[in-house]
Amino acid sequence: MGEKRTVSLVVNGTAYEESVETRLTLADFLRHQLGLTGTHLGCEHGVCGACTVLVDGLSVRACLMLAVQAGGADITTVEGIAPSKDRLHPLQEAFRDNHGLQCGFCTPGMLTTLLEFLRNNPSPSEGEVREAISGNLCRCTGYQGIIDAALDAAERLRGQDATARPHGGESP
């Protein structure tokens, strides 16, 4: 058994203090220790982007970061994006309306990547959206639905009061 340390961090607005093995990845910590299984692992070597989460507002591959490195961080996972149990975030709504997902396995990483991107670039071009998700692999959609969803979401978010944004949409 490896060495253990205690980490304190905030995930989706909830504070945790957890004892973790030093070699435990952030992705495995979120999934198996906190039970937040919405963050998916597609390659475990940092290429596919499915495990992308927001760490202090910035997109990070949770398979390439250790849980102990997240001490003191404020993390948003896919479970923290929707504003409530019965409402989806405008980005999630746009994904559903534009068929931006099929099997849905890459979707959590797409959503977190695009949350960060749309916060920094509220009026992107199609080419900028393509660049933004070029580090996230999707095998189902051919990306077109995802790109349409991102552009649609940008429009929806521009029309929305910034204060109504949920946790993941806030500025760091």
Binding site: M1, G2, E21, R23, L24, R31, H32, G35, L36, T37, G38, T39, H40, L41, G42, C43, E44, H45, V47, C48, A50, T77, V78, E79, I81, A82, L88, Q92, F95, R96, D97, H99, L101, Q102, C103, G104, F105, C106, T107, P108, L111, V129, R130, E131, I133, S134, G135, N136, L137, C138, R139, C140, T141, G142, Y143, Q144, G145, I146, I147
Partner: protein, 781 residues
């Protein structure tokens, strides 16, 4: 009025849970006291095994067991997975053992499994298992494997020919003897893996009290998995259940029953705790089946007007080291080679070569893209040789709409006739060319060349057999809650199966999709099941669902007529109730809830059932649809080739496709575009490399390139809807269609762009270095 949902782009029922991160994929399942598995795999393409020393691994804290085939044998009736589809053409049976015994025949073959407290410890321990190997010569290239004196893939074999078959019709010798022109091509084709973003995984749990074994598995075919486990473990069906959770993509290889499925099942019994195994991406590259190499030697005979007289040739197909599915993949290739064209005489010989590589089984497209690529390369060749427009050559040879249904004198693997059931292929080509500006392209090309830019255009037509039978079971049941439950043996792998079935059922049962729950891929919920493959579910499960829902609706209306004392023809189902239809000037409020009808039909002790009808409010259907229904279409692609780097950029991509009647346009678009992305990868990027010793060279997603958003063009879709006459919905499959024409159209366009260099391309995929080499060759004096 009941809401119409069939034919509408209704939102998918699958999406909310997926978008919230609340879906449950295999690795999201955690059972009490569960332990985890890691496999010890062969690093050699071919080796004998002298011994296995698990001492150091067992000594690691947290390790519960290290199991080899010797440990599994007491639990197994047979240690082999016997899964090959029937065929008379096998020369040898090559079934996978659950774990390798004294010989390993591909890199990645599982030899032992470590069961430990968690995956981290299991992987550590797997590294500590010492296997004493005796390396043996390996057969890597499938052509070399068939040569005299080649290293044998299996020590006990006399050669590496797994199977051989001939397929054909017509007088091929006369066709070639009378031909004005004969052209030959040698074509090299390669396709890679599925690379669903979710890898494989399985969890087994055994309850010693009831002797019940449950396997959750990320599989396209849970009922097949159950049948293999029943055979191998010698268990009663009632003691086994196979369940598929949410599945993060399938694309073919998840239809295979794998060694790991068997091993975790037995391991759960041995260690007495639930066992989970989650494949990592490297394992997906070396241990999950893939498509790979085909070498085609073909000739086309045409008359003076470029009309096809005959096609003949041979295929050598890389089968891998074992039969994990059958001879079906190259069979599809050979059978579909004539494509949408009139071919009066046809003869193909196909050889399946064993190689020391992971087994080959279908990946999205399943041999059809290779066939389409070959016939389309030949069409381009004929056009070039005869100085004709490439589209014109095809136009002269396409099967005409008035000739539908068109019977081709070939037999499917099940001995059924190949009948192209409906479609207007010339219109598909014509509309696609018009949309892509084919006739104006030469002017665009000239202008571009004047600017030093090399652009090209290409096209490819295709047909794709879909909806392979014989059936898929569907039960439709209205529960006493009033909810409509749909159960099918098919699995949902991202293609929108639940939405599709909910639409079909809701159409006849009140139009309220929110009131429909669909359960897929659970052997405890559906007695019979075949599963997801071959773009089949909408056709076969859709039809069973349609017929079953109709029967339930009829029965519900008859019971309601009895309960409401009203004529059946005055009643309709709307939402969750049946009510008396409104008439002009009279709005009715006479109604009965579906749940109340289900309550009545559930029976009450001592009382007769209403209307003298049979109990329950449900129907189970296994509608037999033996014949495939053929989807079709055309891709026209415009590219620019950078002659300094060899890079290819897709400028425009038109795809016309015809999958019969469309149930959900949004989902059909998604399938067509997604399939196209896969086809673009097969044309330009995806290469599963091996060296001459059978060592895989591309085992991560940095070396093996999947198409990303920046390479993917926007796809310009054209929909045609030629209803299939073979099923009551008029539907055809769409999931694999986009991939089929992509390599043919793209390579045609690249070749066209490089025409000034006299470049001819005889392979797919083609990489920038290969393109540069061809340009250099063309520039040489």
């Amino acid at each position: 009025m009941s809401r119409a949902v069939f034919g509408e782009s209704v939102k998918r029922v699958e999406d909310p849970a997926l978008l919230r991160g609340e879906a449950r994929f295999i690795d999201d399942i955690s059972l009490p006291s569960m332990v985890e598995a890691a496999f010890v795999r062969s690093p050699h393409a071919h080796a004998g095994i002298r011994g296995i020393d698990a001492g150091s691994a067992m000594a690691l804290p947290g390790v519960h067991a290290v199991l080899t085939i010797d440990d599994l044998r007491p639990y197994l009736e047979t240690e082999f997975l016997v899964v090959g589809l029937p065929s008379s053409s096998y020369q040898q049976d090559r079934n996978r053992p659950a774990l390798a015994g004294d010989e390993v025949v591909y890199v990645g073959e599982p030899i032992a499994v470590v069961i430990a407290e968690d995956r981290y410890i299991a992987e550590d321990a797997a590294q500590l298992v010492v296997v004493d190997y005796d390396p043996l010569p390996a057969a890597s290239d499938c052509r070399d494997a068939l040569a005299e004196g080649a290293p044998r893939v299996h020590q006990d074999a006399k050669d590496n020919l797994l199977a051989e078959f001939n397929m054909g019709y017509g007088d091929i010798d006369a066709a070639f003897a009378s031909a004005a022109h004969i052209y030959a091509e040698s074509i090299t084709q390669h396709r890679g893996g599925s690379h669903s973003i979710e890898c494989r995984g399985a969890i087994a749990s055994h309850d010693p009290g009831t002797d019940q074994l449950t396997l959750w598995v990320s599989s396209q075919m849970p009922h097949s998995t159950l049948r293999v486990l029943v055979d191998m473990l010698g268990r009663d069906e009632n003691q086994m259940r196979v369940v598929t959770p949410d599945i993060g993509g399938g694309f073919g290889p998840k239809l295979v029953v794998y060694q790991e499925d068997v091993v975790v099942s037995v391991a759960a019994m041995i260690v007495g705790r639930p066992v989970k195994w989650i494949e990592d991406r490297r394992e997906h590259f070396i241990a999950t089946t893939q498509e790979r190499d085909q070498y085609w030697e073909v000739e086309i005979a045409v008359d003076g007007e470029a009309r096809i007289l005959g096609l003949r040739g041979s295929i050598i197909h890389d089968h891998g080291a074992y039969t994990a599915r059958g001879i079906n993949l190259p069979q599809n290739s050979a059978e579909s080679f004539p494509g949408p064209y009139e071919v009066p005489a046809f003869q193909m010989n196909t050889k399946l070569a064993l190689t020391n590589k992971v087994p080959v089984t279908p990946v999205r497209g399943a041999g059809h893209p290779q066939a389409a690529f070959t016939i389309e390369r030949l069409m381009d060749r004929v056009a070039r040789e005869l100085g004709l427009d490439r589209a014109e050559v095809r136009r002269r040879n396409l099967i005409q709409a008035q000739d539908m249904p068109y019977t081709r004198p070939l037999k499917t693997r099940g001995g059924l006739a190949v009948v192209l059931d409906s479609g207007d292929y010339p219109k598909s080509q014509e509309d696609s060319l018009a949309r892509a500006g084919w006739d104006q392209f030469p002017a665009r090309q000239l202008a571009a060349r004047a600017d030093g830019r090399y652009i090209g255009i290409g096209l490819a037509n295709f047909v794709k057999g879909t909806g392979r039978g014989p059936f898929e079971q569907v039960t439709v049941r209205i529960g006493t809650s009033g909810r409509v439950h749909v159960y099918t043996g098919g699995t949902a792998i991202g293609q929108g199966t639940k939405t599709m079935l909910a639409q079909i059922v809701a159409e006849q049962l009140g139009g309220d999709m929110e009131n429909v729950t669909v359960t897929t891929g659970d052997t405890a919920a559906t007695a019979l099941g075949i599963g997801t493959s071959n773009s089949r579910l909408t056709v076969v499960a859709g039809t069973s669902a349609h017929v079953a829902a109709g029967k339930v609706a009829d029965k519900a209306l008859q019971i309601a007529a009895h309960v409401l004392d009203a004529p059946v023809e005055d009643l309709e189902i709307d939402g969750t109730a049946i009510h008396v239809k409104d008439r002009p000037g009279r709005i009715s409020n006479v109604r009965v809830e579906l749940g109340a009808l289900a309550h009545a039909m559930a029976g009450t002790p001592g009382y007769t059932l209403p209307g003298g009808m049979g109990p329950g409010l449900e129907a189970t259907e296994n509608v037999i649809l033996d014949s495939k229904t053929f989807a079709s279409g055309t891709a026209v692609v415009e590219v620019e080739v950078d002659v300094e780097t060899g890079g290819v950029k897709i400028l425009n991509y038109v795809l016309a496709h015809d999958c019969g009647r469309i149930i959900n346009p949004m989902i059909v678009d998604g399938q067509a575009i997604g399939g196209t992305a896969h086809g673009i990868g097969n044309a330009l990027y995806e290469w599963m490399g091996y060296d001459e010793n059978g060592q895989p060279l591309t085992t991560n997603l940095a070396d093996y390139l999947l198409v990303t958003a920046t390479e993917m063009p926007r796809i310009d879709l054209i929909h045609h809807q030629s209803p299939s006459p073979l099923n009551p919905l008029g539907v055809k499959g769409v999931g694999e269609c986009g991939v089929v024409p992509a390599p043919g159209a793209i390579i045609s366009a690249v070749e066209d762009a490089l025409a000034p260099f006299g470049v001819h391309i005889d392979r797919a995929p083609i990489s920038p270095p290969q393109i540069l080499a061809l340009i250099t060759q063309g520039r040489a004096p």
